[in-house]
Symmetry: C2
Subunit: 472 residues, 2 copies
């Protein structure tokens, strides 16, 4: 594999290379499950995927990019374009051990998600996984955060899918052909509820002139922190918890899906947003999980929610900001907890609403800046932090999707734990399912999979409690 | 997993933690193949191994050690003893994809050998691998070099084996029970030819008083460098080759075995040592491989051969020195090449012969010191080096060995490529087979598996050429 042209690397990308350590790999992952089509075995589907993927040798530039070498000590400042791909390395096949249960699959993902990507080649991997007793075939993909954020990665995967079960044009997600707009594709996902609230509809990268507005935006945040007691200002102290400790590289991954309609019904019942339902589920589940571990803090957890600034047009870049909210995990009563969560997110959105995209980006950077210092040993233990964990929601297409006739039957995000942020929860909605992916540092967060049961219990609580009296 | 007592870590161990980078993982590996016993399927053998291994919960202290945390910037200076093991993490099961050929197995090892071990837990992994079409079951193990060198790791594995095919006491290599000397074990391996030459029979670590002899030893080396033109003095310039470049983390692993008797017959034919036969095979193979890559240097490759200072009594420590030899890869004629190799190793042994163990250790350190600087970016490209690659030979038991009745049918070492040393060849003799394991940096050494064919060609050359006229 020889190197090609060298290309400038913006700091929004290189920061993910610089922040990466052996205990904090900075790649995002995705786990997709497919049902073989009629009269097709899982083995045949896996072979078909492998064949079609390896036939896609005209490769999108994103999947040929690698940090220019030799690395200099000051960090990576350029991308180099590889000419070809060592498919034997990047595309891996494996069969799960018996009994081929979902837990065997989640364990495989856990064990592989802690391994760093090789920087001397394009930083992505695809694992084609057979052996599930239920007859499905799984794809686990890893891509470095410097190449794509979770939203972008999800869109890359979805671009290979179609709403037409009879379409047999299935190909690899790196196929350059996918960038040509002549094929029938699923409708673009609607902007997320949050990004619609922000009104962020421009490509942040191209709007450098907006940077001038950053200082007034910061002043606005300060004002909100003073006058609105529901607003969680950046750098406000979040409690010490077992989520906020140094971590090792080993991971634990849990995933499950719920019908989107159940969450939507709960939102309608209480006249709250879909996102508030997600936060309320997470809040109840985290409260129970921490209580089980004898580690529930007296004060509420604070959550950071990344908000995508992606628009329908742009594709291959990182563009996020974030808001902070109080999860009310210190409140035992589910109704009162929900009320506090709704008040907190409404206030945070109030601040983001009036910001332009680049201003929001600055807000995001202010909220997450302690992360940059996390790899310094000892830092995590002694620094006040603004939040305890990140929870992301990523909306995808609502229709059923197919790859070469095989139906997508689950699409779980696998995100990034960090020093001081040992757990991450990301939820994507695809084809009527709300897919939760929970990734945690293995040694620090035992029995993480119990959160799945706790999420169900919390959703049932929302479904059964009296409709929320807002403003009460 | 909670931490226990803290224990001093000597520099001979911590150096492997300090020298480790994401592109240069410092763990050694082993790949063992087992034949199921009569009337047993591969699946049943794999289940049996898994069950028996997980039942071994009284764990040797070596497999509970991890670097004390938090790490300090000056390096790791202490071991911490874990109380228990997260078996779900350390013991992994997998089934190879079809067609289940040896190349599928070697690829699995290649892909996993580039991944760093987690420092927040005891630094080892065991992979139980099924799916080989030939019905064998493979065990791939990784252990950090700070815990054990290749010789020690091989002995740990062998301690679980017995010469009795009817013995059903098979257990895990971490079983504390194995350290109690009441079980029937294979005879201890004979000291290697090289270590017998050195006369190194003491435990180097305990002989600190010998350090006083180090300066005269250094003077002796200098004298040999001046008076004996066959002796390769430390730090003499070795040629620039594609083996001596910065590397990425991805690996390529090739392995094959030959009957020990074929190599012994070649040694007898030419009245040379077994080790000279190994070097001659490697020399011919490397000459062909580099020539294929259009990368054969005008000057000969220089090889570094670690020499074990292990004695029969000591077990769990690093104790090696090294000699340097000229491989004569610049010589086209096989007979002349062999003659030059024999002259070079005889001379190097001449120096080592008169050294005491700690003096030999000092010689080894002098020969390998540039490695310590390799992780500094740019260093590799600009520094003269004393050798181009390391070739190790590790003798094991000669008898057939069994685990719970399953016959050991191959035992390949998986060693460590480094910055500036992109290839490593290690050979172990076990139960009548000479098992070559060749590990290389993936991007830097394409088509590495061709060396296996070249080794065979070189051995045939040795078998067919006229007996060597020594001193001619």
């Amino acid at each position: 594999m020889k190197g090609g042209a060298v290309q400038y690397m913006p700091v929004t990308q290189s920061m993910f290379l610089i922040a990466e350590t052996r205990d904090q790999p900075m790649h995002v992952g995705g786990l997709q499950l497919f049902l073989p089509r009629d009269c097709q075995t899982a083995e045949e589907l896996a072979e078909e995927i492998h064949e079609k993927f390896l036939a896609a040798t005209d490769i999108q530039s994103t999947f040929l990019k690698r940090p220019a070498s030799p690395a200099n000590l000051a960090g990576y400042t350029a991308w180099q374009q590889a000419h070809d791909i060592d498919f034997d390395y990047h595309v891996r096949r494996i069969i799960l051990p018996r009994p081929g249960e979902i837990k065997n699959l989640l364990r495989y993902v856990s064990l592989n998600h802690g391994a760093l990507l090789d920087r001397s080649r394009p930083m992505w991997e695809l694992h084609i996984i057979e052996g599930l007793a239920d007859g499905r075939v799984a794809l686990y993909s890893k891509i470095h955060h410097s190449l794509a954020d979770g939203v972008t990665a999800l869109r890359m995967l979805q671009r290979t899918l179609t709403t037409d079960p009879d379409d047999r044009g299935g190909t690899a997600f790196w196929d350059n052909d996918l960038l040509r707009p002549r094929r029938k594709r699923p409708s673009a996902p609607k902007p997320s509820l949050l990004s619609r609230v922000t009104g962020a509809v421009g490509s942040a990268v191209e709007m450098a002139d907006e940077l001038i507005g950053t200082v007034p935006a910061a002043a606005k945040i300060a004002a909100a922190g003073v006058f609105d007691h529901d607003f969680v200002a950046p750098m406000q102290m979040a409690p010490d918890t077992i989520l906020n400790v140094p971590i090792g590289s080993a991971r634990r991954f849990a995933a499950q899906d719920w019908p989107v309609e159940r969450l939507r019904a709960a939102a309608r019942r209480h006249c709250i947003t879909f996102n508030d339902v997600v936060l309320a589920m997470c809040s109840g589940a985290l409260r129970r999980y921490l209580d089980d571990q004898d580690a529930l803090p007296d004060d509420s957890l604070h959550v950071c929610q990344p908000v995508s600034l992606h628009t329908e047009g742009d594709s291959a870049s990182n563009a996020i900001t974030a808001i902070l909210a109080r999860l009310a995990t210190d409140v035992a009563d589910p109704a009162e907890r929900l009320r506090e969560i709704v008040a907190s997110t409404a206030s945070a959105k109030g601040v983001v609403r009036e910001l332009k995209p680049l201003q929001s980006l600055a807000l995001g950077a202010a909220n997450v800046w302690p992360l940059a210092f996390a790899p310094v040993p000892g830092f995590v233990n002694y620094t006040p932090r603004g939040f305890n964990l990140m929870i992301s929601t990523v909306p995808g297409p609502e229709e059923d999707l197919y790859w070469n006739g095989a139906k997508l039957d689950g699409c779980y995000p696998v995100s990034i734990p960090m020093e001081g942020l040992a757990m991450n929860i990301t939820m994507t909605t695809v084809a009527g399912k709300a897919n939760f992916g929970i990734i945690g540092a293995r040694a620090q967060l035992p029995r993480l999979q119990r959160i799945l049961d706790h999420l169900e219990i919390s959703l049932v609580e929302l479904e059964e409690m009296e409709p929320l009296q807002q403003g009460a």
